[in-house]
Symmetry: D2
Subunit: 307 residues, 4 copies
Amino acid sequence: MSLRVGVIGLGVMGADHARVLQGEVRGAHLAATCDPVGECSHRDPHEMIEVVDAVVIASPDATHADLALACLAAGKPVLCEKPLGATAAEAWRVVEAEVALGRRLVQVGYMRRFDPAYLAMKACDVGEPALLHNIHRNAQAPDWFVGAMPITNSLVHEIDISRWLLDDEITEARVVGQDPMLVTMQTAKGVLISTEVFMNAAYGYHVHAELVGRAGTVAMAQPTRVLTNRAGAHGHGYPMNWVPRFAEAYRAQMNAFVAGARSGSLAGASAWDGYAATAIAEQIIPGLASGLPQTITLPAKPQLYEA
Amino acid sequence: MSLRVGVIGLGVMGADHARVLQGEVRGAHLAATCDPVGECSHRDPHEMIEVVDAVVIASPDATHADLALACLAAGKPVLCEKPLGATAAEAWRVVEAEVALGRRLVQVGYMRRFDPAYLAMKACDVGEPALLHNIHRNAQAPDWFVGAMPITNSLVHEIDISRWLLDDEITEARVVGQDPMLVTMQTAKGVLISTEVFMNAAYGYHVHAELVGRAGTVAMAQPTRVLTNRAGAHGHGYPMNWVPRFAEAYRAQMNAFVAGARSGSLAGASAWDGYAATAIAEQIIPGLASGLPQTITLPAKPQLYEA
Amino acid sequence: MSLRVGVIGLGVMGADHARVLQGEVRGAHLAATCDPVGECSHRDPHEMIEVVDAVVIASPDATHADLALACLAAGKPVLCEKPLGATAAEAWRVVEAEVALGRRLVQVGYMRRFDPAYLAMKACDVGEPALLHNIHRNAQAPDWFVGAMPITNSLVHEIDISRWLLDDEITEARVVGQDPMLVTMQTAKGVLISTEVFMNAAYGYHVHAELVGRAGTVAMAQPTRVLTNRAGAHGHGYPMNWVPRFAEAYRAQMNAFVAGARSGSLAGASAWDGYAATAIAEQIIPGLASGLPQTITLPAKPQLYEA
Amino acid sequence: MSLRVGVIGLGVMGADHARVLQGEVRGAHLAATCDPVGECSHRDPHEMIEVVDAVVIASPDATHADLALACLAAGKPVLCEKPLGATAAEAWRVVEAEVALGRRLVQVGYMRRFDPAYLAMKACDVGEPALLHNIHRNAQAPDWFVGAMPITNSLVHEIDISRWLLDDEITEARVVGQDPMLVTMQTAKGVLISTEVFMNAAYGYHVHAELVGRAGTVAMAQPTRVLTNRAGAHGHGYPMNWVPRFAEAYRAQMNAFVAGARSGSLAGASAWDGYAATAIAEQIIPGLASGLPQTITLPAKPQLYEA
């Protein structure tokens, strides 16, 4: 039987998840949608959660944790857009509830783990990891993107993908600058992580990474299938945001979520990973003003999340 | 209801089609397999055709046309591996049968039409097409790859993709060399097509194309997601055959076939396209010995295949 | 003592040669210039030849052979812009005169032999050569570029560089199209040469080559030192003509000419090579109309030009 | 008259400078060499300085400042390999002596300022500079490369080229890690500089930079003229050290030195620049142990070094 999936929130990300569910996913279909405005089958997300087999949360960040808790209460698998909570404390409540339940129902939408380029990087042997360079550039920050949001909303992607690529935990971080910002992190195993976050890079949306190992390096190729010669120039275009750049990742993430929901064994970023990304981000923030090294600590990882 | 698909022939291509049907296709499942040896549900392809909703033909080339005719007789949509027939005359029988039936049931497995790089090339505006460069390199030709097979079994891919990319018909061709071989073709609209076919290129399997228009050119980027620095060198590896290179194309082709079979409206290469590729190849062969220009002629395209 | 060099003709090429002589050459200086108009030390090239140690001919093509003969008569080393003669017969007169003199004084300005990319290609081991792809694109042909000039004035560069890269002689050629034009040549050793000449490629001046050997291939990298991300696009710009593209080649060619003139042992393309390029071009021209294979024949190479 | 240049020290760098002087420089020749061992015209550098027009210092670092002072005392233009002094105090003595002399005679061998890739980066408009990424990788550190040498002997190149590229002064720095090491610097104008120094990168010698501006970015292309397909892989090789990578820069630097020595107007890195690089490096060193931000201060730039 095809899995009945409901999407909460029909903004940019929710609409894209709905589109993927309608045409690009095996074993599931879009069964319900919920939004305070516009055309959708439900206004009340809790009612929607009752009538579907699985849930996608793409509503505003402040609602993520409560809705994820509602899914856990209803025993429904849920793919929750990042961040898992508006604060680490909120995200931790989801972890606690899932641990109390004793089985994993929450996948967090750190979609880069499903990007073919990141997967190819992870599969590539360059010897023991020594350093990871991340670049995260947006064409233009929206007006509401202020304060520590480059850390809590953008850098969280690098926090998650670095933890996943390196299979390691972040233990220290320091920040220089504001936009662009350079964040230097260190891991438990002694790997360095250098991340540029530039919210107003002007030329386009561009994510890049290079993993430096003791036997070599592996970096993303330019994100294009074709190269043109036109009007005096050679090259290719950039997308203006993450939806086209990570289209394959979003599709693969949803397919993995559906397969995991059906089999009872979720893949991708767990609630623990979602908590960790937000908790690390919160602990980096004080360094934004001081420029001083910040020690990062996480609670013990609950047994539920051990491989 | 999920489409029940049966695969005839479980060699390299048939096994890959079966794998795709088992895990990467929406709206269908692998319902039956047929091969003279090994584990499969049927030995007789005609019996298998009766019990499925749609058929994939991946048996030896000499059987393609007869099996496609059997599918037409049974009214079953069929994805037939290239070539559609061992000869143009065989392929023409399939066209005639489909025209007599009055509706399209045959899709031919020219999978490059579903490759993201070719699709991006086709979508790119470089002005009026003027010239198309194709490169088709295999690491090593199998022992049985003799005589005109570089034309009938390899160049047919470039014949098909050139017709599709340019939306044009080939009218003349000339051949120089044997391995590598240079084939220069011209189209009805006056576009030139230059194709290198090299069956023993040694270094790997590599397909490349550049479309030259009157306002610019568009070419495939190197087929990789990541670039490495290792052991004194920068770059990436090649696959040793077409299965990994065109994995996305094979998956997309099967999804398109399933969607087309379900909706009654097939996409991809038609029986006419399959006939045309083989008929053009046959007419190029005399030029292999003489080096002289060969005029290519095709019968009028049946109304069934007009867009 | 610094070699006194005089330049005949101060058009685009002559002015650039003069500039190189003034600031980028070791062991020589610009001692005289000759042009029918503008500021220069001489109006009569023959007078100028008398008062310098070496000569650069950059006057109109129709004057090349006669001026080269004058340099031979005066015993002065000469770097003659391509072509060596407006016709093969003219160029042959220069060869005959030099053979009669018994020592090499003529270098022909096929500067690509000094381009770092071509030199790196030649130095690269890809096994026995099998095929050479050449691409020669101009942004826009000048008005006077008509008839067979794509062959006599543009393709001659590929004729020369192919002979040099392959250390082989061209024996057959066929032409398809006009602009772009595809020229397929074969060599005495059985190597294929595919050349696109496109005089109105619109996007810029672009020369590319890939040598396909039986153990691999070597191709030019994109001609740039830096890559930009700007205004939604990644890549680099093209020059609009050959002067910036081959700036290093022109400088190296002049340094080699000066060193050869001083040592009495010229490098680069010889009068024989200059003759051969024009003679081969002339024999290709009939194929421009007919599309039929043209057999190319050259006289025996005089002993003077054996390595 | 050709400038008579003498080279002190015939190790790797001195031998290469001598080679360049013998065959690739306009307006100068190798007139003398000095080394404690082997074939050379002098054992005593001070005697050699007396008999030449200009000097190249390529002896051990500890001798640089004293020899540069000797050249100043003799009024001879000198190209001194980096660093200008083993300590900032030593380098400062050279600055003081040159200021006392009242004219510039010292050029410091920060050759990257003459590298075509860096020059192209500097010429490229990407808007107001915001961030500079530097990567400096050696295949393998020599045994004697210990302690703070990655800063004093390697990072000094990035200190110099960053100051030059940005036309700005470094005011703060922090260090994380040892090998690889990440150094984050800030400039007076608020630009961030991120530098990876990896002395045992294993795969080869590789220098890379990307300048991020507020309107776009510019980065070095891969340092190659040709790309190969061989043995299953696409790409190019790396040199194993800086001599081949910066061959063009070394040649251009020497030509600029000779031209400057002849004209009385030196280009390239000045004694002030040489002092600044070493002084900044020394002030970064305490951060190697502490990981804390280090404030960098330089004395006022003497009037002699204002443009």
